[in-house]
Symmetry: C2
């Protein structure tokens, strides 16, 4: 009744060949319905003959029967397969790829709704348990798993993360689309030395000297640190635009919050009348992404509760000046100074979040001198501020930053003049010369956002291929 295990490649065009000493046979019987594991759990096919394909995540040979769990990435849960002990085979084991055909049955156990009673098992690709870095039944640490970037998607932890990341990305696009935003593919390579910082990566074909003349683009070019200025170009015809793509910083940091390549969601809104308008969109966006993406996937219930709690409340909005007052009045000892005019450091940000009840906080109206040329001048005194705002969140600190942009030609020109950038940014001045409108926007670090909603400590565990100083694997 149960034929012995057969090993086969599934390529119908294949002629039998010998691989790893195992004869590979071609099969040609009529195929039963192919199901994904997540579809099998819907149990509409109970009683039918089906086939599933995937990887063995657990393997338990017993006297009478073999028990295996097969996962195909369609859900965290694997499908339990039961086969007679006679189907056992030295190549069948943890990590190998299989196709299983059999009858889908209601499971007698409450742990799973269905199970597959195997009639045939093909080992498609073997997996030597001695060489394979992940071991059956062992709970490997994230640090250990991270060493094997090319294999870590085969662990439950990281495959869950990949599913969440994919869903969260879809949620981002869906939020913006439903709210009338145009997606703009801002460039990766740019000639903008945006903030004049030393944290840029430069780009050239190998063997080229990085001189202005004779180089590939004729000018020095960099990897983008932000799509903002390019989005502002589009803000002159589309009142709501966004971008979502990779951004780069050559920061020599190995921290749990920094990457050399990370993803950023950036939005720009024209005819924005105040910083309150901006924070309203921002809060709605962040909440919407989270509700759609995280709630379905998060298994630790306390996380879901924390998030629920966080998002039900309105996010407090305090000014930088109020923030400084809070810090000065506190009994906490800080490493960095808390004088008006100094930048808020991570320790300050974390304190402010805690002070506000461990929920996200907007801090607005930073000192004018701390902000880049494009931030809108509040023209206040004696404390001269700009209409810039940061969103601080529990665990992570600064998640997101934004500002109203200086849309007034005269003010922008004189600010650029002071920095000696009037010529470099003459195109940017043109945006104010022709049909300028008040506008503003924000950027949100996607990995930090994932860290925040998932409670993941290290940023390297929320991106498929982390790049940081001294590490660029694969």
């Amino acid at each position: 009744m149960f034929p012995a295990v057969t090993r086969a490649f599934l390529l119908s065009s294949m002629t039998p060949v010998c691989r790893s000493g195992v004869t590979v046979r071609r099969y040609c019987m009529k195929n039963p319905t192919k199901l994904r594991v997540s579809e099998a759990f819907l149990d509409a096919q109970v009683g039918e003959k089906v086939r599933i394909q995937g990887w063995v995540r657990s393997f338990r040979p017993q006297k009478q029967n073999l028990f295996l769990h097969v996962n195909d990435g369609s859900s965290l849960k694997s499908l339990q397969v039961i086969a007679p002990a006679a189907m056992n085979d030295p190549l069948l084991g943890f990590g190998c790829a299989v196709e299983v055909r059999g009858i889908l049955k209601k499971s007698p156990h409450s742990k799973q709704p269905v199970e597959l009673e195997a009639e045939q098992i093909w080992v498609i690709g073997e997996c030597n348990p001695v060489d394979f870095p992940f071991k059956i039944k062992e709970r490997h640490s994230l640090e250990y798993i991270r060493q094997f970037l090319h294999l870590r998607c085969r662990t439950n932890a990281f495959s869950s993360l990949l599913r969440i990341r994919s869903e969260a990305t879809a949620a981002v696009h869906s939020y913006f689309k439903n709210n009338g935003f145009l997606l703009v593919h801002t460039p990766t390579i740019t000639s903008n030395d945006c903030e004049g910082a030393g944290e840029l990566f430069q780009v050239e074909p190998p063997g080229t000297t990085f001189a202005n003349e004779g180089s590939f683009f004729s000018v020095p070019v960099y990897l983008t640190v932000s799509g903002q200025l390019h989005l502002e170009v589009m803000s002159g015809a589309f009142p709501r635009v966004y971008t979502f793509g990779p951004t780069f910083r050559a920061e020599n940091s190995q921290s749990r919050r920094h990457l050399a390549e990370f993803f950023m969601v950036e939005a720009e809104i024209s005819f924005t009348e105040s910083i309150e308008d901006l924070t309203k969109v921002w809060k709605t966006a962040a909440s919407d992404f989270t509700i759609i993406s995280a709630y379905i996937f998060l298994s630790p219930l306390h996380l879901k509760d924390t998030l629920d709690d966080m998002l039900r409340k309105s996010f407090p909005v305090i000014t930088y000046t109020e923030a400084i007052d809070i810090l000065k009045r506190s009994s906490e000892t800080f490493t960095f100074p808390t004088d008006w005019g100094c930048d808020l450091m991570t320790e300050h940000e974390k304190f402010l979040v805690k002070h506000c009840g461990n929920i996200p906080v907007f801090v607005t109206d930073y000192p004018h001198d701390l902000k880049p040329f494009y931030a809108r001048d509040n023209q206040d005194h004696p404390k001269h501020t700009a209409a810039a705002v940061d969103l601080l969140v529990p665990g992570v600190g600064e998640l997101s930053g934004g500002s109203l942009r200086e849309e007034r030609l005269d003010l922008l020109r004189s600010r650029l003049g002071e920095c000696g950038l009037e010529d470099t940014y003459s195109w940017y001045l043109d945006l104010r010369r022709f049909g300028s409108v008040p506008h503003g926007g924000f950027g949100l670090g996607f990995e930090r956002y994932l860290q925040c909603i998932l409670g993941v400590d290290n940023i390297k565990d929320v991106i498929p291929f982390p790049r940081f100083s001294h590490s660029c694997l694969l």
Copy 2:
């Protein structure tokens, strides 16, 4: 009844200031409903007082009335605004940004469903017609428009393109999501020198010498030419994965079909049994993107008909060997040789498309020696081929390329050995060592795809910020 034109910035926090000699006043009356132009066309608000914000795309002052068209990017069509001549103002004109309040009325003209009878017009941002490079009523060539990357979104032609591109992107994501694919953010910076070609861009912080030691990542790193190998990593746990992002080639080309930075859609499918399986997904995907994205937007009807016609037919599949026969038997004179073993050049590709009735054609089973190490060996003779396939389309030539991947450890190892790459790609060999499955995939150039469905001649006109040799504006 009609107050004179008032100019105002919309920032409620603003105090009156002087800009360009014009007094800016703050307004604070109760705001009527704000509508986007596309919403106004739905004419549900006819008879109501509304306000719209946008840019003036045409301006016609007549004896009794002013006529203007206001566009806000929400649709190609602009909203006609009628105002009494008394509202005219030197600052009101082509290109300026305005807010208009008034009563939305059914239009007496068949050209438009509704029009706005203005009660107030604010010029938010002026636009000097002498300096503005686009002139009212002039039809500028795409070459002319392309010089002003920072302003071209304000033309009808390019703003339409941006809307289509945004919709096509959404269609790509929606196709893959609905078909069970996981989105993977493959990295931009990579240490893979993928095909060993000289067309890579190298990346370093400025001032660093490109040596192995002391460099930012400790190894030489490049901008990705393809996410394929990274997708293959994920194919070991997820049978359907895709990526959609920027890709790079340091090709010294100014052609109508090449960019240094372009977008690529790439998909990888595990448990793929044959090249026919692959081309089936591929054809469905390409057709689905097109139907969703293009049909709504394309105004030239002949284009829609051509596309309809193209997609109704099944795409012919011919082998490379058959293609060579067709080329050899033709009476056409080619510049490049058409012997078996030679690469197909653009002239050959265009001929083959025409020969097959000017519809997309799949060419399969290329000479083994022409294809990279990862292409699956067909193990045939005397003509030794690999299971690789290209999709050729009218107007553009090669739109997309793919292959089955060599999933057999022994064959892959010996191929990598021949190229001296066994050590470099030991991680790639690991994918075949542990739970390997037959798989394949394809990549599709997004800009060439847009060129094809929109009939756009120059690739620089289908991407917001084109980068090519000697040009990286903004």
